[in-house]
Symmetry: C2
Subunit: 431 residues, 2 copies
């Protein structure tokens, strides 16, 4: 829970830095609000019951449906653009397995009520900054625009076949070109159409070279051309915001689901752990809440995969195995001198250092074993003689080195000594 809370705090900080506001919605919604809004699977997995008042209710299975219901009810007071983030638990009654739980936390942010490219750019910047603030250097934000493929299919007269084409492209990497060719042939596409689709899907390179190649291949289709222009605006703005070209790429191969997204889409992979998949994904949609309101609400959003990212950080050894609740431990030597130990602790805490006093005057060995189990880094050791003299020993619990300082008349030596030892013990990503 310690790294988990730190991750959520980082997310909140970054979201707010871009003007997103927090919302929360109840765990329980009327069943009719939830039913039929996800997939058949989410309907089947939903926890639902009749409450004491005879109302059919369900536990939310994602944060998007509650956002749609919330926006439909409140968008007139809120006004647009409305930028919200929402971090909260959702429930799905599926079979638990590694990384899949019946209760898990979603961590979403969305900008609704605008089609402006600035929102696309700021969504990308938020994703970039989230990973950066978590101390992750090795990642790549992959950006695509669904308008490209939609435009291509339109110009090939294949717009109705988009589902089968998307499904084929989605597994291109896994099954290879010949298999996908065969499948598309079987679905009734002409060889020349398939060739153009596969040529499109194979474009790789720098953002500039990709965009120039796309301009040639998709020349003349309005939807695709506006999609290319948007990608160009986005990549230029990312560079203006000093995002390294190591950290983002235009990638025409990413699709993100079949029906929901209509514009820019994002995926984020950790270059050290590509196999875990995207840790932050999202995209632009045409209409958030058409089920609940007639108001047209285009938007863009993304979701941080909290559990997946935590699992990844753990695999990469970036999460301390003993995350310390506090940094400084004060053993209680003398049960008659409680006030002196509390005074010492309050000096340390007032300097912003987390600190804990052992609650009972047990043997020092027992107290230090507790400190070790809890992962404390520094102990302040003083018996009654030291307390009388106003001195205390600052002990590094890893290296076992110690130094004695005066603390009652001047707190400087004490606080500097602690800070020095703590700084030598740092280095854990989320400590």
């Amino acid at each position: 829970m310690i790294p988990r809370e730190q991750l959520m705090e980082t997310a909140r900080k970054v979201y707010r830095r871009y003007g997103f506001v927090p919302i929360d919605t109840p765990a329980l919604e009327y069943l009719e609000v939830l039913t039929g809004k996800g997939s058949e699977e989410t309907d089947r997995q939903m926890y639902h019951f009749t409450d004491n008042g005879g109302r059919a209710v369900g536990m939310r299975f994602d944060l998007t449906v509650p956002l749609a219901r919330f926006a439909a009810q409140h968008i007139h007071e809120l006004g647009t653009p409305f930028k919200r983030y929402h971090i909260g638990p959702v429930w799905r009654g599926e079979t638990p397995q590694a990384g899949r739980f019946r209760e898990f936390v979603q961590c979403d942010f969305d900008t609704i009520g605008t089609t402006g490219v600035v929102s696309d750019i700021e969504t990308a910047l938020v994703i970039h900054e989230l990973l950066h603030e978590l101390g992750i250097q090795q990642f790549r934000l992959r950006i695509n625009n669904r308008q490209l493929l939609t435009g291509l299919l339109e110009s090939l007269g294949l717009r109705e076949q988009s589902t089968v084409v998307l499904r084929g492209l989605d597994k291109l990497e896994k099954v290879g070109v010949p298999m996908v060719q065969k499948e598309l042939l079987a679905a009734g596409l002409a060889e020349s159409q398939i060739e153009q689709i596969l040529r499109f899907a194979s474009i790789r390179g720098t953002p500039d070279s990709i965009l120039s190649e796309l301009s040639q291949q998709l020349h003349g289709n309005e939807l695709a051309e506006s999609g290319i222009e948007r990608l160009d605006t986005i990549q230029k703005a990312l560079i203006a915001a000093r995002v390294s070209d190591q950290h983002f790429a235009i990638d025409v191969s990413i699709a993100r689901g079949l029906d929901y997204y209509t514009g820019v889409v994002f995926e984020t992979t950790l270059t050290e752990l590509p196999e875990i998949g995207s840790v932050c994904s999202g995209g632009r949609y045409d209409n958030l809440a058409d089920i609940f309101t007639k108001q047209h609400l285009p938007g863009i959003g993304a979701s941080l995969g909290l559990d997946r990212l935590l699992a990844a950080l753990e695999k990469l050894g970036r999460i301390p195995s003993k995350p310390s609740p506090a940094e400084v431990f004060i053993p209680l030597f003398d049960g008659d001198r409680v006030s002196d130990y509390i005074e010492l602790a309050s000096i340390v805490r007032k300097a912003g250092i987390r600190c804990e006093v052992y609650p009972e005057a047990k043997k020092l060995g027992v107290q230090l074993k507790y400190a070790d189990q809890r992962g404390f880094q520094v102990a302040l050791i003083a018996g009654s003689r030291e307390l009388d003299a106003g001195v205390v020993q600052i002990k590094d619990l890893r290296s076992k080195t110690a130094t004695e300082v005066q603390y009652r008349n001047s707190q400087e030596a004490l606080l500097n000594g602690i800070q020095l030892m703590l700084s030598m013990n740092r280095g854990d990503l989320l400590a």
Copy 2:
């Protein structure tokens, strides 16, 4: 949600500063874990159902029963003392009314597995620091010890009558002495017994005078005497930790519920708003988890009344009516210069200032109306001519004053100018 999140963040920060670790438990527990663990009322109000796997489950109605279940399962790995905090929603199917909701957040911290007085002291210090960090100056932490009354009743041979006595004392302030006298007479107590109980309950004064009066009245009863000594140790330690005597008091009149607490108890009242009741309460209990485990787990804990405190801060005018998501607003004058506006925003954000760019190049009036609705304090205004020259106008959205600065070659003037305007606009407690 903005002040709500800030309140929770402050609570987390203070809890951690004292070495408490976060835990979370699922919203759903097996029904048998929850049933019969609260009151008849919580049993009746509980949301419960049979899940898809045929299991009887219920939604937690507090965080104490889940802690007891968690401790019983894990205390052997965790070791004692175990200090945890838990902030999370709980559910009760009651009739909603002002300040009472079917879903609400509890904000608990507990130290379990120890009877040491240090834990009592640190619980008091956490409560004090919570209110202090929230910018509340006018409050009083009232401390009592249930051992005193229990000891008195023991020495009067009335231990079996403690429930009726507690109930009487609980309404003493409301109904007055004669009414309570009558009630206790009716319950079979002798006049001399009633007189001693009422004399005890009327003790007031400074901590020292109260403790000395208590020592006289309760002389010879072991339980009461150890209770008095503990209160004395606590008050001395609070003074050693520089807690002002304005902020705490010993108050023999507080009882906190009938059966659960056995030692020190706490209540916290806002002196400007005593009528809302205690905003942070708790106390010491003999055994947390006797329903779930044979291991004896004494402990002490308290709970911050989040909704009540928020309502109080709102009443006291300490919550800004327009809490700003971000501080700085950048209108988009020229849709062809998106990169320039994004660059400007990224300079501001890298200095730790929250900032939002309007996503569409609408009329300036529309954009500034949005900024006003959202409560932004400062706008950075630049058209294409200003962007060409690398200058921007910093505008105070309340006073309407503005100043123009160069930003492209040196960011100092820009950032200093923004900080100056923001500092003039501060003053809201939770802003």
